[in-house]
Symmetry: C2
Subunit: 116 residues, 2 copies
DNA sequence: CAGCATCCCCCTTGATACTG
DNA sequence: CAGTATCAAGGGGGATGCTG
């Protein structure tokens, strides 16, 4: 397998880029960086996400080994999500992009309007 | 405008994240990091992209001020795309993510299969 | 060469409602 | 609380063909 060329459509790196490009995954990761968190907490912190989509996102991230899902046999039910080492290792790169975004958003919006 | 909370759905930072999440923008940016490039060159280096989508991507990136588009009045026509300073400033963060992707792709795919 | 025009499809995303 | 079920919609993305 060729992991050396992101430009190759068959390159598995594309898979990762797709996941990162996902609208919610990044937000979940940034959120969980503050520590383990329950479903409802995630949902309320990440504005605009529906339960279904949040569940989908969490399941996929779990399968990819980015987060863990721990169910406590209690009433009422409690489920905690947390970053794995792999997930944590992605935090810094993602965070750098987020910081860039926050820094340059204004400029981009300005240019976008100017060319509208 | 509140640029401080990525979790706010109205936060313009989301806009940038969306653009970055775009399937092709990242590839274009990585590609142009090697220097100015013509349409066809971009198209052949970025496997799997159709002209229409590539054009859309380039236009949007131009409007956002990430790249420039220079048309040479020649026959046959020649159009060169290049990164702006803004675009260049995004290269490092993006590149960090890409590197992460290449490094951890194998592990992710392994986990994904294991949980399938 | 560098693209625009068209048509189309599917797949994500979402709103709403319900449940173990 | 932490989800599932269902249904609807929209647009990103793609194939093809044409042109300045």
């Amino acid at each position: 397998m060729d992991t050396g060329d992101v430009f190759d459509p068959n390159c598995p790196t594309r898979v990762v880029l797709d996941r990162i490009g996902d609208k919610w995954s990044v937000l979940v990761l940034l959120c969980l960086a503050d520590g383990p968190m329950r479903f409802t907490r995630l949902r309320s912190r990440i504005g605009g996400v529906t339960p279904k989509v949040l569940t989908q996102t969490l399941r996929t991230m779990e399968q990819d080994g980015l987060i863990t899902r721990e169910v406590f046999a209690e009433v009422p039910p409690r489920v905690e999500y947390a970053l794995t080492d792999l997930g944590r290792s992605l935090h810094d790169p993602i965070s750098a992009v987020a910081t860039w975004a926050e820094t340059h958003v204004a400029e981009i919006l300005r240019r976008r309007e100017r060319s509208a």
